[in-house]
């Protein structure tokens, strides 16, 4: 279904959804930083910049309770969190790189174990994607086979038009349902052309070649020279729309507490640290190697997909300037 919606009507749509009790999550300013979060009204929406954290947190929160315990005398009572109670959500203004990573995450969260926390939020969320008209030299979606207009992962996709408003295309039943319930806010396409899309990178990585090199070079001196500068923080993984590692911790007192699930990252020294004290990834280059291997080899081996959508966040925010696009480009030329 191809339609048109004006900026004014898009805001009217969001306000109506909010008034109806729907949770509308979109980029907005949070203490000076653009982040996704629930809107209280459409005025707060910020659509002109890529949010600092990716959209994955709408499905995979940086921290969530999964269980709680309480001890009364000798009796211990456990209460599970029931995902059935998660709210219906419309996620708005998701950039193509963020949206494309969501189906990539589906694979891992519904593989051997069905993660109901992720899947229930996924079922209850309608994703409204938004094409990019701006890019910087850290963006590289085009290099990994996506593009600033790619609707992968979006239920409904908006493309900004010359002279204002958006072309709106639906791709799933969820997207159609959202449009049909608010049909009068949408108009027939008015023939105006789309704003020029961003062109982030002219290079197209040969991902097959990259994988072929990785297949044979688990041990290679290149890892040392690439990762000698890595300081082992979690910035890259935490900002990444596709990274999905988590840690489970019990927090509380002996009387009562919660079991919590929070983001983890393979760059941390503790990630593979064994209780015995042994650490198979004892030096940072081995940890960084895992990042590249997981994204461009292991995930492909298992799910036939690449665990990177080229958003460039890890490049912009790496404290020591490690540039994954430069690294993959170099590997593809080996």
């Amino acid at each position: 279904m191809q339609l048109y919606i004006s900026e004014k009507n898009l805001k009217a749509l969001l306000d109506r959804l909010i008034a109806d009790g729907m949770r509308v999550v979109a980029p907005r300013m949070d203490a000076g930083t653009p982040l996704y979060g629930p809107l209280t009204d459409s005025a707060g929406i910020v659509l002109d910049q890529l949010p600092r954290r990716s959209a994955k947190e709408a499905f995979f929160p940086l921290c969530e309770d999964i269980m709680s315990y309480e001890k009364q005398g000798r009796k211990v009572s456990l209460t599970d969190i029931d995902p059935a109670g998660f709210p219906e959500t419309v996620l708005v203004g998701v950039r193509p790189c963020d949206a494309a990573a969501i189906p990539v995450l589906d694979a891992v969260f519904s593989w051997d174990y069905k993660d109901e926390f992720f899947l229930e939020r996924r079922r209850k969320t309608t994703i409204v994607g938004l094409a990019c008209t701006k890019a910087d030299d850290a963006c590289f979606c085009t290099a990994v086979g996506l593009s600033p207009a790619n609707p992968k992962g979006s239920d409904l996709f908006l493309t900004p038009l010359e002279g204002g408003g958006y072309a709106c295309e639906t791709f799933t039943e969820k997207g159609e349902a959202l449009v049909n319930a608010n049909r009068e806010l949408f108009a027939e396409p008015n023939g105006s052309t789309a704003l020029p899309l961003a062109e982030p990178q002219t290079e197209r990585f040969d991902l097959k070649k990259v994988k072929a090199w990785l297949d044979g070079h688990f041990e290679d001196p290149a890892w040392d020279s690439i990762a000698v500068r890595c300081v082992g923080c979690g910035a890259c993984a935490f900002l990444c729309p596709a990274c999905h590692c988590f840690d489970i911790v019990d927090e509380g007192t002996e009387k009562a507490g919660k079991r919590r699930k929070n983001w983890d990252a393979c760059g941390f020294w503790k990630f593979t640290h064994h209780a015995s004290g042994h650490n198979p990834r004892d030096l940072q280059p081995k940890r960084y190697r895992n990042r590249i291997m997981h994204k461009f080899k292991y995930y492909d081996d298992k799910f036939g997909q690449t665990l990177c959508s080229g958003c460039g966040r890890c490049i912009r925010f790496c404290p020591v300037g490690i540039d994954i696009a430069a690294i993959v480009s170099e590997i593809s030329k080996k």
Binding site: R52, D136, R229, C233, L239, Q284, R316, F317
Partner: protein, 307 residues
């Protein structure tokens, strides 16, 4: 004016001098490696590099994008840097203060280092877009109140004089603004900032002084600080971080620069530095001191707050 350019014309000559000196000390065998900066793919960008061969000395640069405090590579990441022999390192004045602090804490020995000091007019506040001109608006807040444009006590410093215009101070103004608030307002301000924290620990990992093998905040037996990035755990983490760096922080502001959530972390450290200066007349500087202000005492210390 915010877009007034800062003169960085000496950086080309500084780059050349660093390259020449690195080439010399590597080829003459004075050092096993030089830790410095090299250009990277993105236009205008720079990243830390370890050069071990004289032939590679030409990779070294200095520019307004050379923001990192490389001292961190001499403590935490030490295992990854070749160990044998002396290490050469490129340092700005602020970085040198950190190295001096680390020597005071017996983490480093002066005789194992070859210090290449940089006459520095300032660096960028952020390298999210490295291809940015250095101006009164884009310069790092720490550089606005820097007293260390010319490092002293190094083995080599290119003979250049940086031009450093007087700029409005940032941290002192922010500290004063916060001090003037009521406790409830301050609490609300920090709560809003800390809430954003994702516990990526970039701030900790880049800090030269956070060299503990295992951080208190990673321990779970006993768990003093919640490891989850919830508002409560975040608040505790930031209080512990500020306290553990009190009297040690050299003010390089790396923590604040790298925070992907824009939390003004160095404000806390600088507030502590200000208090310790007032209380015990201690300040980070170029002179190695055996004990920081919280590692020593004076019988006559102020105790007006104790009943």
């Amino acid at each position: 004016m915010h877009d007034n350019p800062i003169d960085t014309s000496i950086y080309a000559a500084v780059t050349e001098a660093i390259q020449g000196e690195a080439r010399r000390i590597l080829s003459e065998g004075h050092v096993a490696a030089v830790v410095g900066y090299a250009a990277a793919r993105r236009k205008g960008s720079a990243q830390p590099v370890v050069v071990t061969r004289a032939d590679d000395a030409g990779k070294l640069i200095f520019s307004a994008a050379c923001v990192n405090n490389l001292a961190v590579y001499l403590t935490k990441a030490r295992k990854e840097i070749p160990k044998s022999g002396k290490i050469g390192i490129v340092v700005k004045g602020c970085d040198l203060k950190a190295l001096v602090g680390l020597m005071g804490e017996s983490q480093l020995k002066r005789e194992e280092l070859y210090l290449i000091g940089v006459p520095c007019a300032g660096v960028l506040a952020s390298t999210i877009q490295p291809d940015t001109a250095l101006t009164a608006g884009t310069i790092a807040p720490k550089c606005r109140e820097c007293d260390a444009h010319l490092p002293t006590g190094c083995d080599f410093v290119p003979a250049r004089q940086p031009v450093t215009p007087e700029l409005e101070k940032h941290y002192s103004a922010e500290i004063a603004r916060l001090e003037a608030m009521t406790p409830a307002e301050r609490w609300a301000y920090w709560k809003g900032q800390f809430k954003k924290c994702i516990k990526c620990y970039a701030c900790r990992q880049v800090c030269p002084f956070c060299f503990c093998e295992q951080c208190l905040c990673d321990r779970n037996k006993p768990q003093m600080v919640e490891t989850t990035p919830r508002p409560a755990g975040n608040f505790a983490w930031h209080i512990v971080r500020a306290m553990h760096l009190a009297g040690r922080c050299a003010g390089c502001a790396e923590c604040e620069r790298v925070c992907p959530m824009d939390i003004p972390l160095n404000l806390l450290n600088r507030k502590m530095a200000k208090e310790l200066k007032e209380l015990y007349d201690y300040e980070a500087g170029f002179e190695v001191r055996e004990k920081g202000p919280l590692a020593t005492y004076d019988e006559k210390d102020d105790q007006s707050f104790i009943k």
